[in-house]
Symmetry: C2
Subunit: 334 residues, 2 copies
């Protein structure tokens, strides 16, 4: 593999002149040399050595994408889609994306420092470690969907609380009175709590009730369904805080002979593409993942450019997509 030195020798100039051409600092080199050197670069198929660059210039052009968990984290369509858009955007900025799945907090710093990452994006719940991570790493760090009592950190999230509000409002408008909330088994994070709180607050504001025993945190969805169907006071409206789980729930209910939305009405969260292909089509709270990924990177690069920028917590909006999984209790003569 050709190096600056090889090219310099062939062109009869110093390494520095070649370096200038490679870095497109054309105003500092004579036109004659520019052309000569460019021809040689092309002929030799020269590619700059990023390690050497990183070592000498302290700029690695690496953005680390740190995802919490290890097994199958990309089987979650949310994570996969988010990662896809993020990598895409990193490349648009002419940076390189390094992906790390992480379980232990200490690995974060190890990876970031080892590769001299210029910035990092976090997917998943790091709430408890944000302070430590920030103390250990002086590069721009952008978290997503985090809720932490720390005030100073950059976060891109969505209005989870409002998602809960929208779900409750929709159920209430459709005449429902008996509610349940199901936590997706993948996580027990703050973000789910927010969705729950928005849901609960809205129900109570309407003088209705979300009974504590109707808030389910399923280890096993089959069991959850059994519980769900055994309530003395039957629920009609179920808010499941992630589409994945909502779809699994619908499937089990249908298999046991229940009809949706006749017996149970369901609202999911995320608006994954699958929502349109299950039957009935799933009414859900939609978030714009692509937009979220773009904001994430845009904010990261702003901070890369201007490190003194204040931290910001961007909260993206959320909307209810009405499909077919919620029954209208008003217009029905049972």
């Amino acid at each position: 593999m050709a190096t600056l030195k090889d090219i310099a020798k062939e062109a009869g100039v110093s390494v520095m002149t070649v370096s200038r051409v490679v870095n497109k600092r054309y105003s500092e080199v004579s036109e004659e040399n520019i052309e000569k050197i460019q021809a040689i670069i092309k002929k030799l198929g020269y590619v700059p050595n990023s390690s050497a660059r990183s070592l000498s210039s302290k700029s690695s052009k690496i953005i680390s994408i740190i995802i919490q968990g290890s097994n199958n984290v990309l089987e979650s369509p949310y994570n996969a889609t988010m990662l896809g858009h993020i990598v895409q955007r990193v490349q648009e900025y002419n940076y390189n994306a390094m992906v790390h799945f992480i379980n232990e907090y200490s690995d974060v710093t190890k990876h970031l420092q080892s590769w001299n990452a210029e910035g990092a994006v976090f997917l998943g719940t790091f709430d408890k470690n944000i302070q430590q991570i920030q103390a250990d790493n002086k590069i721009p760090l952008v978290f997503t969907d985090s809720y932490s009592s720390i005030r100073q950190f950059i976060n891109i999230g969505i209005d989870d609380y409002r998602g809960g509000v929208l779900a409750a409002e929709h159920f209430i408008n459709k005449g429902h009175q008996d509610f349940a909330f199901i936590t997706p088994h993948t996580s027990v994070s703050q973000l789910i709590q927010q969705r729950l709180r928005g849901f609960k607050d809205t129900i109570e504001a309407a003088n209705l009730n979300l009974l504590p025993e109707h808030i389910l945190d399923p280890l096993d969805m089959e069991e959850t369904v059994t519980t769900l169907c055994s309530f003395k006071k039957q629920v009609s409206a179920i808010f499941v805080a992630a589409d994945n789980s909502a779809i699994e729930l619908m499937d089990i209910l249908k298999r046991r002979g229940y009809r949706i939305p006749e017996d149970f009405s369901i609202i999911g969260f995320d608006n994954l593409p699958i929502c349109q292909y299950v039957s009935p089509r799933l009414t859900t709270i939609s978030q714009n993942i692509r937009q979220k990924a773009q904001y994430t990177l845009d904010v990261l690069f702003e901070h890369l450019k201007t490190p003194s920028l204040p931290t910001q917590n961007i909260v993206l909006n959320v909307e209810l997509i009405e499909r077919e999984s919620v029954r209208d209790m008003n217009n029905t003569t049972l």
Copy 2:
């Protein structure tokens, strides 16, 4: 950030002794020094600089994962799942995963050389460029799902042809006589051709026919459905070469009032998790993505260890998962 030099100074030894301890070459250092140095490493939170290592040792500990396409490539659950398992496996080997989405062939070499990647994994169709990529990069390169006339390249694939055979056999066993084949719009690669060929050969071996006009390559699934329903001789059995497209097809058919499997029987390909949640549940050809990812990395690291190893083309098996989307024409009194 601490360097070897900092530690050496504090320990009162040379940089080399510290380097030996960092690299766990304990037999070359006195016990006393090992302990002293380890304590300092811990105290200072020393993390080796990977760029420096890469530059001086020519071993970057980077595996590049190169995915064809750019927009939303991870919205394909197959790609996402595959990538997830691959990254996971790369980390188990204590290597780092760099992810590149690529459209132009020339970017491949640029990325690999720039970062001194020790090996690379390719997802997607690179058939036409395999030879060139191999000529330009002397590191182990593992392709997946590739069909190329080049004989010498490492490939991990599945038995696509047999997938087609299994689908055809299943339809035939269930008494179907009129078939269609739908290409997933995401790709027009060899691998789809293989699935088609297995399907067609098996049908013809049974003295039945797959009419050329029944082989559809949909730009727009709605149009395809219109075509499908307008055949003078109605088809009953449709093999769609990817679950994603199969599910989209089912949805459109249902929306137009057709029943599945009564009016149309459908078999997909991949066995994505969603297959169990659509209704009717999708009968499909299953491939073990996790296993495929593991083989991919295992073969890569074997070649990293022993570069002289001959290339190999590993073909994993495939099986039909029977669910509810194929009608049994034998036991039915229409």
